[in-house]
């Protein structure tokens, strides 16, 4: 065995020291090399995706988004290129002058900018999405000594030229240009630029170099709604006025073309981004539902237009403990037309009972209640209708006048449109077409017949009855000189939180179509819980008229009454 002492020349001589030093010098790069090799080989994927995420995240903010337009091409939502203004502190020549200029141009306080200057590192954003006129002012001095250190970063801002018009349908897109609600969310894929085809390098803050060939490759689609901005304006204007005057919680106004099922206006008030009450609101319709029960009974043959209904002294005890009263008239017998004109609950209940639960259920389902309309609006409700085998006698009777059934506005207007459209239920449409940059057009609003709900003769009778409601009954305030209007009022008590129906809490509505001889528009107006005393005939029918009159003028619809002044 070799014995070494502390004074051994083997350990401490110069040569060995140099060897150790050389080894150390070699080991360090070797470790670095091994680490680099490991990163390049095993961590390559992770780092690549991290880098791509950083790039695409940036691009997502900057990318173009398609427009949402009305049926005639008026832009309701559009992305405009704006800029964010930033400062690279180290390049600024005269801090005081630059800060003064920015404060004056952007309408900011000097202290605000100086605070940001103090708090941030070399770069910070002074303002985001600056207005075009401010951008012009800054861009003009960018290449002068005053503009040195300033950076304008491009980005897109979603703007609504018609302000809050149809905003409940359009919805919202976030700052990264992703749709969050409404059409923006439903058609996010079509509206978004395909970033997988757009290569870019994020070379430094605020600057992107695009692949030249792909820079102009715009793959976004523009979504055209069936909504007409002018019709929407008329509906929103009338609705806003009514909701404000009556102190209602909400208001809904829909306008549909009965022959095609296209919605040409869908207004909710107050407006909330992407929350259209036309599709999401469910309520017990009350008397507007009598039209459904009566048309079903006429179609099935259990009721006839010449029938007379016994009013049971205006106090009908359906079963022990459940009595219906008609306080709005003093007649012992009512004809079918009078029953609708006076909106008799006893009459509608008796008609429903005569028809029977099974057949009433069948017709309610055939009209599309209890099923989503496939209009594909996010959050659309299907309403609620329990199967007929669970109905009691009282359930059958109350459904005849619109209680014990929950419907959505779109379902109700579509059902009235089926009557206007000679008994054929049409698929409602909200999106007309999608036009892509390459010229491809995806037509979405082709008229689609869902089914025949009523015989044509039945609809002819129903039109006359509903016309008589407007001429002689509760819907008089919907009358329009020169035009035959058909419709039905509704005043439904709302379920109270304590249980039962609240006498002071109502949903008032009117649904109708015109001109009766060749219906062009079906219009539904709903006012939810007006604080002032109101009925469908006094509150909702005038709104119907206010929407219908300018629509008739604007569309140039011929009067169908011959002898009017």
């Amino acid at each position: 065995m070799l014995k070494r002492t502390l004074s051994s020349p083997v350990v401490f001589n110069i040569k060995n020291r140099m060897r150790v030093l050389g080894l150390l010098v070699l080991v360090c790069p070797l470790v670095i090399f091994i680490r680099l090799f490991y990163m390049q080989t095993f961590l390559h994927e992770a780092f690549t995706s991290k880098a791509e995420r950083a790039i695409y995240n940036y691009l997502a903010e900057d990318r173009l988004r398609g427009k949402i337009l009305d049926v005639n091409g008026r832009a309701l939502a559009e992305s405009v290129r704006t800029h964010s203004c930033g400062i690279s502190k180290r390049y600024v020549k005269d801090k005081t002058k630059t800060v003064d200029f920015l404060a004056q141009t952007l309408g900011l306080s000097k202290n605000y900018i100086l605070e940001k200057w103090k708090e941030s590192g070399n770069f910070f954003f002074v303002a985001k999405k600056i207005k075009p006129d401010n951008y012009i002012k800054i861009a003009e001095i960018l290449r002068t000594p005053l503009g040195q250190g300033l950076e304008l970063t491009p980005e897109y801002e979603r703007i609504h030229p018609y302000e809050d018009s149809a905003l409940d349908i359009i919805g919202a897109a976030n700052s990264k240009n992703f749709g969050l609600s409404g059409i923006e969310q439903m058609y996010n894929k079509e509206l978004s630029q395909d970033i997988s085809r757009k290569r870019a390098k994020h070379i430094r803050r605020g600057e992107i170099i695009y692949d030249r060939k792909l820079k102009e490759d715009v793959s976004v689609g523009n979504v055209y709604l069936t909504i007409d901005a002018v019709a929407q304006y008329y509906a929103e204007k009338a609705l806003r006025k009514a909701v404000t005057e009556l102190g209602a919680e909400h208001g809904i106004a829909l306008v549909q073309e009965p022959a095609t099922g296209r919605l040409i206006a869908a207004a909710s008030y107050p407006v909330k981004d992407g929350q259209s009450l036309a599709f999401q609101f469910t309520y017990e319709p009350g008397s507007t539902f009598k039209t459904i029960a009566l048309s079903a009974a006429l179609d099935a043959g259990t009721a006839h237009v010449t029938d007379s209904i016994d009013m049971e002294g205006r106090k009908w005890e359906v079963v022990k403990g459940f009595t219906i009263r008609d306080n709005q008239h003093d007649k012992n017998f009512l004809s079918i037309a009078e029953m609708m004109q006076l909106s008799s609950n006893i009459g509608a209940g008796k008609i429903a009972l005569e028809l029977g639960a099974k057949d009433l259920f069948y017709y309610i389902k055939a009209f599309g209640f209890g099923t989503k309309t496939d209009i594909n609006f996010n959050g659309e409700s299907k309403g609620s209708i329990t199967p007929y085998n669970k109905w009691t006698k009282v359930d059958t009777v109350t459904k005849g006048y619109g209680y014990g059934v929950a419907v959505t506005p779109i379902q109700l207007i579509n059902a009235y449109s089926a009557i206007a459209n000679r008994g054929i239920l049409m698929q409602p449409h909200l999106v007309d077409r999608i036009e892509y940059a390459n010229g491809k057009i995806d037509k979405r609003a082709k008229p689609i017949k869902i089914r025949r709900v009523l015989k044509e003769e039945t609809t002819a009778t129903m039109k006359k009855i509903l016309q008589s409601v407007v001429e002689n009954g509760s819907g008089k305030r919907a009358r329009i000189v020169g035009y035959n209007v058909a419709g039905k009022t509704g005043t439904a008590e709302k379920l109270s939180k304590e249980g039962g129906y609240g006498k002071r809490s109502h949903v008032v509505s009117f649904c109708g179509f015109l001109p009766v001889t060749d219906p062009q528009f079906t219009i539904l107006v709903i006012l939810d819980n007006p604080s002032k005393y109101a009925f469908g005939g006094t509150a909702a029918a005038p709104v119907f008229k206010e929407i219908a009159e300018p629509l008739l003028t604007w569309k140039g619809v011929k009067p169908d009454q011959l002898d009017f002044e």
């Binding site: 030229p161 329009i480 009159e549 003028t553 140039g556 009017f564």
Partner: protein
């Protein structure tokens, strides 16, 4: 003599390099200025388009027509519709 020729050629080449670089720099600045002008004009154009959209709002038109010219909506029964 060959050394002087070589030096002369090098000097010419150096001058050319300097001239080319100066020209590139000058052209770059000119292009940058033009690009800036294009951006300014595009921004102004976009701003004007936005104004047109805002002014074409039915609400604005209706309000302006009423305030400036006293126009009111015509009753539909007073419209004469011609057959096509």
């Amino acid at each position: 003599m060959p050394i002087f020729r070589l030096m002369f050629i090098i000097a010419i080449l150096a001058f050319l390099v300097v001239w080319v670089r100066t020209e590139v720099d000058r052209s770059g600045r000119a292009i940058g200025k033009l690009q800036n002008e294009v951006e300014v004009k595009e921004a102004r154009n976009q701003y004007l388009k936005l104004e047109i959209l805002r002014l074409s709002n039915p609400q604005t038109i209706s309000q302006q027509a009423k305030e400036q010219f006293g126009f009111v909506p015509l009753h539909p029964s007073r419209v004469v519709v011609l057959d096509k």
